[in-house]
Symmetry: C4
Subunit: 219 residues, 4 copies
């Protein structure tokens, strides 16, 4: 079975869904992103305590609140990244649909390791699971991008070559960060947290800054 | 009461939903698909354990994680299949709306047997319930397709006859698989799992292959 | 406060949101309908039991499964009804927005009495709460329809007068059913269930049938 | 690492998200608003009691039901307010995207303090947390509005100057209310509740009235 699966993955053909409405793929994906990001809050709960101990109980779940904030931005990044890719896509085939569903599978899984990170802060197992989930999401995104960018039938012909390579590099760079974050968790979990934060900082802040500089050069 | 009912029937308007906006039916259905697929993760939870036992606890819920992955792809298939049908539909009447809501009723039920499959792996009752839920969803899809394809008022006139029969056969084939999966669970639950996996493999991979051959014959 | 609220409700003006994008109101409402309808399944859960007692546990939650099915169709009806109203609306002001949010408030509340109906089947309190929630939703829908149909600035001028009265009557008729269902729960809860079922039967089946007859008369 | 970061910055593309599809930002945001508003009902649950004590149990969770109603309208207000802002926006850059995701982060957090308000009614800690969450959401909305209105590249040139100032004032006014509500909770929690209710009354009713007067002056 696994062999059949693996071998047939290589020859996944273009077919009748090729002209799938891109809007519907985006709407479905946006729905999943919006739900995953909103479900995160369900993990922030306080055990039944007297009002006198409420403040202590809130302090005790601070790691869960921080995990909520962090995963919110991570899923936000995946949503923005998803938009960055699909905006250049002009045709959709089955392979893209199933790569997209696989991406959503990993993104939809994020609440579980997030919950573990909140329950067992600065511990190895949650960090490794969290890192692997992010790595799997990111790798699927990368595979999707490679698939569509290798075959110019799927891409807007106006896309600059620089853009294609830029998105490629960004995926690889983030993958590297995740691998390092997982690796250093065996040495120092705090370093892993710093790596995770760096990804968000890089994608939200530095990439934007660079855009500005770039732009001013052009103008 | 019956009289009031009868008399009010006389002033109700004619077929007012016939020209329902297809976009809204799709948006609502996409919403339900996206939510069901994302809610699956809520079943993956770990009891409160010491960090020392966390790894054991994660191993213990592996069946839940596998159920998550499987149901994610199953719901993904229903979403793709829903798209395959609605893309050929050009008009919507009340029957289609209510068949669609019935389909969503069964798809929306999937998290329950999925949870049972994760809690009681390789057991007969969860397999039967899971199989019946998938069978009910698939039968509703089949009925919808029969209804719209029998009455050409609902279908895009450009649809090839082969496509109509192809979708018909695919529904019947999958129904047969589900019936067998339910049946063999009384003999060997592991066989049922293989049947379930085969449906996903068939729909994701083989149908695509078939399309390719089909296409190459035409060209 | 209440007085200010009540008095100002009467003079709610047309204002800057008048030209709110109808699509966004529909998208938001569809989102809420889709989520409420899908959340219903979260109430169907089985306590941790040995596999030997699983079947008994499933039988024990049958009322919850029946409540799921019933509320699924009820929310489906509200969604269809929402579409029936908005399709004739051509402009949106603040009053319509807030009536719509109030409608969603009541529809969003349905999972709670549904859960009670599943937990305490054929009992008065859940029936009354369920009936009141449906009545409140339906009354808000009715008020919205009266508001938009009284002021032809909001309605598509092509709407037949019969259609306006038909929707009015349908709302009143269903309200009457709900009031009776609540009332008879004090005498015989089984009668309430029959009333609830009648509403679904009336709206899903009879209204459709009537459409057919009507149509054949015209043709 | 810093070197790799710096060097990869050079090959990243220019301002690629600037022309992000506004529809997709709205669809994603609407999704989050719709999910948050609907998740609120999940907090309304009754412990397993005999039917004889059901009524007492329902009375006991009345604060949760009231919190549900209040937060439903608050999130409704944020949704309307979000629409009010985005309708004037004609271009979207990264800053707007991330301000928007930050807004959704705070709105998505509302179910947690709502749950505390329902569990510990008229107590200081829940009021402060609830007020801070609303204040953070509102401040982010205000910052977004300042950002887009300062740079006319983002705004519809047809927007009247009065509208810009009106939205500014409304944000500041509501912020002031929240600050006071948080402050008076240290003196009298009941006053905080009145302040919270006033915000809803102001935004739903009075701002509408004001618009009417405004309008009649113009005409």
């Amino acid at each position: 079975m696994v062999f059949v699966l693996a071998s047939s993955l290589c020859i996944l053909p273009s077919d009748i869904i090729e002209e799938m409405n891109k809007n519907r793929l985006e709407a479905f994906s946006d729905g999943v992103f919006a739900i995953v990001i909103t479900l995160l809050v369900l993990d922030i709960r306080i055990p039944k305590v007297d009002y006198a101990h409420l403040w202590d109980a809130i302090i005790a779940i601070m790691p869960k609140i921080i995990s909520y904030v962090y995963s919110f931005f991570i899923i936000g990044i995946y949503w923005v990244s998803h938009h960055n890719i699909t905006r250049w896509i002009t045709a959709i085939d089955r392979t893209i649909i199933w790569l997209n569903i696989t991406l959503l599978l990993f993104v939809g899984f994020i609440p579980f390791p997030t919950s573990l990170m909140g329950e067992y802060p600065f511990q190895k197992i949650p960090i490794v699971l969290y890192g692997l989930t992010l790595l799997a999401s990111n790798l699927t995104g990368y595979l999707t991008w490679r698939y569509v960018s290798k075959n110019n039938r799927f891409l807007d012909p106006n896309i600059p070559e620089k853009e294609i390579r830029g998105i490629n590099m960004s995926f690889l760079f983030v993958n590297l960060f995740y691998v390092i974050a997982i690796g250093v968790s065996f040495v120092n979990p705090y370093l892993s947290y710093i790596m995770f934060l760096s990804v968000v900082a890089y994608l939200v802040i530095f990439r934007s800054k660079e855009h500005k500089q770039h732009k001013s050069k052009i103008t």
